[in-house]
């Protein structure tokens, strides 16, 4: 079976986000008001072959833990969808 995986890698709460603060500063200079708490993460999408959804989820989880995130500062949200 083929699945579409979408992984959002985000900085853990409490970890400072230099990209987010830079964007936040820029928005106010550009005249956008009222924007706050900007946090920047990565969105990684891919397709994978797997026996079933559960197995797919397991693979992606492992990929996140070992490789896609740095657990010292990041965590990930995983979404898996079957492709017909």
């Amino acid at each position: 079976m083929r699945y579409q995986a979408s992984v959002e890698v985000r900085l853990r709460e409490g970890i400072a986000d230099p990209q987010g603060s830079t964007i936040e500063n820029a928005t106010s200079k550009l005249g956008f008001e009222g924007i706050s708490n900007v946090r920047v993460g990565k969105s990684i999408r891919f397709t994978l072959e797997s026996a079933n959804e559960k197995a797919a989820h397991k693979t992606v989880q492992e990929l996140c833990d070992r490789f896609l995130t740095n657990p010292v500062i990041e965590d990930a949200t995983i979404i898996i969808q079957g492709i017909e």
């Binding site: 400072a16 740095n70 010292v72 500062i73």
Partner: protein
């Protein structure tokens, strides 16, 4: 006998020849270690040089840490061998877990290449033994991701155990605690963002990198 220093080369590394040149300039031997070879040979110390291993794609060091050479280097470090990660090398060492914390993008989101003043905080390490506490060293930085980040807990541990070796006089990148370089618990693994190899020749504006690399060579000799 002068020691032999192994300098690791990943695809995308680019400061390996500079490290070799600086090490040879200080009288030691240097050899390149290809990332795919698990055999690191009879080296007395290891440098993981600067550059963009695997393009720094995903995160700096994220792919490099899985190289066969890194496995051997982790072994080597655990046996007490001297290992220094410079810039990208520092990032690799945090990814592979030999050093705590992580290196994020610089505050201001700009790559920064310029000479900075560093203060020696601890002389108790393989990289700083030949310096004096409070020494100010003028050495260039050259990075986009040099903003040292860790938990409060880790920061306290680094502080309490005298594991912060070098700090910035004028923090250029947002690093926690102005950290420019740290070591592991046994003090034989060091990571730093500045490039001491770029400050070892009178034509290049500073020779303040020499005492650092001298310390390292000395430790490898021991």
């Amino acid at each position: 006998m002068s020691p032999t220093i192994g300098v690791v080369v990943f695809p995308g590394s680019n400061c390996e020849q500079d490290a070799v040149e600086a090490i040879r300039g200080l009288g030691a031997e240097a050899v390149l270690l290809w990332h795919e070879s698990a055999e690191i040979g009879e080296v007395d110390g290891v440098i993981i040089p600067g550059g963009f291993a695997h393009g720094d794609y995903l995160r700096p060091g994220a792919i490099a840490r899985f190289s066969p050479a890194m496995e051997s280097i982790v072994d080597f470090a655990e046996r007490g061998g001297s290992v220094v990660g410079i810039c990208n090398g520092f990032q690799v060492l945090t990814e592979v877990g030999l050093l705590p914390g992580a290196l994020q993008k610089n505050i201001g989101l700009k790559f920064l290449c310029k000479p900075v003043n560093l203060q020696v905080e601890s002389t108790n390490s393989i990289l700083t033994s030949q310096t004096k506490p409070g020494d100010i060293l003028n050495i260039p930085i050259n990075h986009f991701e040099g903003n040292y980040t860790c938990s409060e807990e880790t920061l306290n541990e680094l502080r309490n155990n005298d594991r912060i070796l070098l700090t910035y006089k004028n923090n250029p990148n947002g690093s926690m605690g102005d950290i420019a370089g740290i070591c592991n618990e046994s003090r034989n693994v060091v990571g730093l963002m500045p490039h001491p190899e770029r400050a070892c020749h009178h034509l290049l504006g500073s020779t303040d990198g020499e005492p650092l690399l001298q310390s390292f060579i000395e430790s490898a000799n021991a």
